[in-house]
């Protein structure tokens, strides 16, 4: 499997899609996490709204980085990671390369394991890069505003990185599964995006009308991701400076358990289909 991991890492790191997704995610993170909050903070200061100014400053502060980094993942970050994973597995069918790998390469499950391990390495890279960029952006903004720098504790950082990896990992597993189910990149990425950005929100809206749907919508992948982000300190979409997709439906431990369960199920289905179906 080591050969597969090495090969897939080579593919993912040389692949323009990986860098485009990483760049877009970092840009969105800085834009929505710091630029807009900074503008809102200045507005609040000039209009004398001290409460709002204090809330926004807390979000911009380095101590708020674990929450800020995580709160963008349930919706936009998750969608980007899902597309990356769907394209990475789906492309092998689209370009016929899985056929060659399955014929003369390692066993199918080793090839699948190599792809998932390489995706995991890329996700760790994206999360660590987000952390570094967010800390730097926060420090620059706070210094420019002549505010004291309050750093997060190691425990808070670990919680933020762990939560971000769990949310991104679950969406990546979903994307990888869709790429294999659809045997191509376009349909899988499209279906995944519709689910993440539209279907879950619609279902949550409908559950407000039909109470019977609530037990289902409370345990959807996006709900679990949003709940974990909220448990880490993310601000819900209905509040000032909050992020869409962040919800307070499940407790942190329940959300983390559910996310792990979804990731495992998605990978089992993906591995089974890859091993059993024709390339």
């Amino acid at each position: 499997m080591i050969g597969s991991v090495r090969a897939e890492l080579l593919r993912l790191t040389r692949w323009p899609v990986t860098w485009v997704v990483t760049g877009v995610w970092l840009a969105l993170n800085v834009m929505f996490g710091y630029v807009f909050d900074l503008l809102g903070y200045r507005d609040a200061v000039s209009s004398g709204d001290r409460r709002l100014a204090a809330e926004l400053l807390a979000q911009i502060s380095p101590a708020g980085v674990p929450a800020t980094m995580t709160q963008g993942l349930p919706l936009f970050g998750g969608a980007l990671v899902l597309v990356l994973a769907a394209v990475s597995t789906g492309n092998g069918y689209g370009w016929n390369t899985w056929k060659t790998v399955f014929t003369q390469g390692p066993p199918r499950l080793a090839a699948f394991g190599g792809t998932m391990a390489a995706l995991a390495v890329v996700l760790v890279g994206i999360v660590v890069l987000s952390l570094v960029v967010d800390l730097a952006a926060s420090a620059v903004v706070m210094t420019a505003e002549s505010q004291a720098l309050t750093w997060p504790t190691i425990g808070e950082l670990a919680e933020g990185v762990g939560g971000a990896l769990l949310i991104a990992g679950m969406w990546a597993a979903a994307g990888a599964m869709l790429g294999i189910v659809a045997k191509g990149p376009a349909l899988s990425a499209g279906l995944g995006l519709i689910w993440v950005l539209v279907v879950e929100n619609l279902l949550r809206g409908v559950s407000g009308l039909l109470g019977a749907l609530e037990p289902v919508t409370d345990y959807l992948p996006g709900t679990a991701a949003g709940s974990l982000a909220a448990a880490i300190g993310g601000v819900t979409g209905s509040e000032s400076g909050g992020a869409p997709g962040v919800v307070t439906i499940l407790t942190g431990p329940s959300a983390a358990t559910l996310l792990t369960g979804y990731a495992v199920v998605f990978m089992l289905v993906a591995g089974f289909l890859m091993a059993r179906r024709d390339a």
Partner: protein, 240 residues
């Protein structure tokens, strides 16, 4: 001479119809065997059965002493599919190094393979921007990079210019001289003269299994195109 591939009474159905009708053949080790026949005669299906990706209805395919498709055969077979199987959004070098990494082969060997197929000048070019012939050669490099014992090449010279086709055949000859077994399909009869042995296939049946000289002698002509037509005619007369 050793047998690399043995096909015995192979029957295959694809798309609801029988494509191969109980064919039997042997492919000898260390030689170039040409699998020739018109489009739709069953060449690709037979190759798929040999590399182990085709469901077999009945019969047996043995490759290097093991049943076709055995996991142990994976590293010993190189398969070039008819449509190129490379990532169009990676460069030639990145594609070949990707497959080299799968087999634990050094980057230098991957670069040598790129030179072998005449793509040294295009190594840094995205595969999606290559011409059709260059695209096929990029795919060929990926099949060759593991230095397999058995190379199954489905129409590797289609779309190549005559100079390059000549170079590729010299390369195939070199590989055979070094001990590799090559099964090369083509529907171009003039390429048959470059093979050590020929399997002529038509409508899912082997109509000749011999050396090019013997095939021509049996048909009483020096022209392989003509020989193929004569053998088809003789077979039709035998059947009627």
């Amino acid at each position: 001479m050793d047998t690399a591939v043995e096909v015995r009474e192979l029957v295959i159905r694809r798309g609801g119809r029988e494509v191969l009708h109980g064919i039997s053949a042997q492919i000898q080790r260390g030689v170039i065997t040409g699998l020739l026949g018109p489009s739709g005669s069953g060449k690709t299906t037979m190759m798929r059965a040999i590399v182990g990706v085709q469901v077999v209805r009945s019969g047996r395919v043995t490759v290097l002493g093991r049943p076709a498709g055995s996991p142990a055969l994976r590293r010993t077979i190189g398969y070039l599919t008819q449509s190129p199987s490379v990532y169009a959004d990676l460069t030639v070098r990145e594609n070949v190094r990707y497959f080299a990494s799968l087999y634990g082969i050094a980057s230098d060997d991957a670069d040598q393979t790129i030179r072998d197929v005449g793509l040294a000048d295009q190594a840094r070019q995205l595969v999606g921007t290559l011409s059709g012939g260059q695209h096929s050669r990029a795919s060929l490099a990926c099949a060759l990079v593991s230095r397999p014992e058995l190379l199954v090449l489905d129409e590797p010279t289609v779309g190549q210019d005559p100079v390059l086709r000549d170079e590729l055949w010299k390369r195939f000859r070199q590989l055979a001289d070094d001990g590799a077994t090559l099964l090369v399909s083509s529907h171009v009869m003039d390429e048959a003269n470059r093979c050590d042995r020929l399997l002529l296939i038509r409508e899912g049946e082997i109509i000749a299994d011999d050396t090019p000289a013997a095939v021509k002698a049996a048909a009483g002509t020096d022209d392989l195109d003509q020989a193929f037509l004569t053998l088809v005619r003789n077979r039709t007369e035998e059947g009627s």
